[in-house]
Subunit: 323 residues, 2 copies
Amino acid sequence: MKVLILGGAGMVGRNLALRLVADGALGGQPVEELTLFDVVPADVQGSGRTRVVAKTGDISDRATVDALVAERPEVIFHLAAVVSGEAEADFDKGYRINLDGTRHLFEAIRALGDYHPRVVYTSSIAVFGAPFPEAIGDEFLTAPMTSYGTQKMIGELLLNDYSRRGIFDGVGIRLPTIVVRPGKPNKAASGFFSGIIREPLAGMDALLPVDDDVMHWVASPASATGFLLHAATMDTAPLGARRCLTMPGLAITVGEMVAALGEVAGPEAVARIRREPDQTIRGIVAGWPRNFDAARAAEFGFTADASFQDIIRAHIRDTAAAG
Amino acid sequence: MKVLILGGAGMVGRNLALRLVADGALGGQPVEELTLFDVVPADVQGSGRTRVVAKTGDISDRATVDALVAERPEVIFHLAAVVSGEAEADFDKGYRINLDGTRHLFEAIRALGDYHPRVVYTSSIAVFGAPFPEAIGDEFLTAPMTSYGTQKMIGELLLNDYSRRGIFDGVGIRLPTIVVRPGKPNKAASGFFSGIIREPLAGMDALLPVDDDVMHWVASPASATGFLLHAATMDTAPLGARRCLTMPGLAITVGEMVAALGEVAGPEAVARIRREPDQTIRGIVAGWPRNFDAARAAEFGFTADASFQDIIRAHIRDTAAAG
Ligand SMILES: NC(=O)c1ccc[n+]([C@@H]2O[C@H](COP(=O)([O-])OP(=O)(O)OC[C@H]3O[C@@H](n4cnc5c(N)ncnc54)[C@H](O)[C@@H]3O)[C@@H](O)[C@H]2O)c1
Ligand SMILES: NC(=O)c1ccc[n+]([C@@H]2O[C@H](COP(=O)([O-])OP(=O)(O)OC[C@H]3O[C@@H](n4cnc5c(N)ncnc54)[C@H](O)[C@@H]3O)[C@@H](O)[C@H]2O)c1
């Protein structure tokens, strides 16, 4: 089969690509060709079984998307997006890529008429906005408080409608904040959740812009890959009209994260964290969800991490493996 | 002040225009100019106080919308839409008018930069989809089951985001099904709710395609006008980030509607109703909301009809007045 990842050079896309090449298969079917599309070139190597094709371009150009879709991949992972901080800072860019780009993909598929792939779309818990109940259930309203959340939610609505009409077979997964994000920080306002673990483990200082009692919903990069694979292969019939699911995660406070870091890596690591309250980030984070009851995702077989300590240990292993 | 109604020749728009001309004012301020924009020419007469300008065009043409917005009306009522049945039958037309047209309006306002009007947007209870709780509260998820509902919900999300950013001052009102709709039936799948009252009162037969126990959420044309005027003049600060409200209405079954018709107009009227089950309409209606707890709208001062008998009597008066 052919698989296409839009945003294939990004953090989540790259991990997914590595896993697909390692498995050489998806849902029991061999993956002969894996196309990684992104504005920047992806650096994943193929294998004897799986040919990897890296392509560059912009999903906000309809013709580019038409050309990708013309290859009729059986599964499309749509991860290409401008993240929260950037979509908030650049109104036009956020709408052009996150909304128009998503529509281009959906319309390109519709234009073919007889092509109905599985489409896995990465939404975000940013589709929710305060005030919240103690734990956000699957029937709680989506009321985004950022342009990014708005764009992600519009993508969800379109995915549901196009799927309902049989244009494609969509699954939307609302990712928790992925922690520990490897590599360099990106422009997401949630970056510090990873920074306070990643930087100290690398012997560097990290800034903590919010209070210790800030609670958030997180999952590891490996869990994100697991969600995507499951979304690509699950039976979608029982989802009915509601094809977008809040993914499982851990509800954890910043204080608990720091304590877990101390447990796994010792007090020297914790000492690397510098508390520098930032009113802007505090304000943004105050509107973010803290805790979920992701019952539907659990019912449909999605699973996440057992503990934050495990997440930290996995990050240490991954970093060592990456050299 | 200047007021603009997009969809000003439609049922709700025309009633609103008549009321604005009769009042000659909105929120205590004189309305000097009222522009009625629609694909078909509006036929509302102005008064000495209020000049009425009827313009024709299509909101899916950006330049047309730019020209309307260049007049900088203080209040814009955005009612222009392709209704549910048509948006379901014609995918492209629904998205072009209901989604792209709405975006054109919002973007035309943003393009001016220093112009921040009140924008009142008519959403619909079609943003909700089954399964439902006994009564749908203000925190229940929106999960549309039609393309029309999807497009209306996307408009809500955009309205919230543009308002949050201070581009305009938006209020979205989710109208119940407006009953009794005067004049000819339109292409809305909900048309029969009005037909079973309007046709018998006019001495004509009416088809009833669903069962008597179908419950629905309705409000009168006069209530719709009242909602719009209130949305145009209310203080929006207490709405916070959630600027779209389910309007109050009556939860009533088809059987109760028919009984009310009998009470007001006698058994001859009821005898005009012919039960002809239609599987397609039944299927559509099965996914529609039945009952709401519209507490937030009530809290913000929106009020609706006291009884269905009153709604029928108002329709009889309006029809007589219209000759
Ligand atoms: N990482 C998280 O915590 C998180 C949480 C919720 C949702 N998500 C979503 O998951 C997806 C992947 O996240 P990530 O962490 O890998 O983000 P990322 O920023 O690392 O990857 C996104 C990729 O999309 C690419 N991209 C941006 N604009 C593009 C365009 N116009 N055309 C083609 N490619 C474009 C970027 O170059 C980048 O490589 C995104 O859609 C993101 O919004 C991520
Ligand atoms: N009547 C109801 O029961 C009800 C319920 C919920 C929501 N709404 C919404 O309220 C609004 C008004 O409803 P209505 O009952 O008056 O509908 P309507 O169909 O009578 O009026 C809509 C008007 O919009 C005009 N229009 C359509 N496409 C246009 C375009 N491209 N450019 C300019 N004008 C265009 C139509 O010509 C029509 O006159 C609509 O947005 C509708 O979706 C109505």
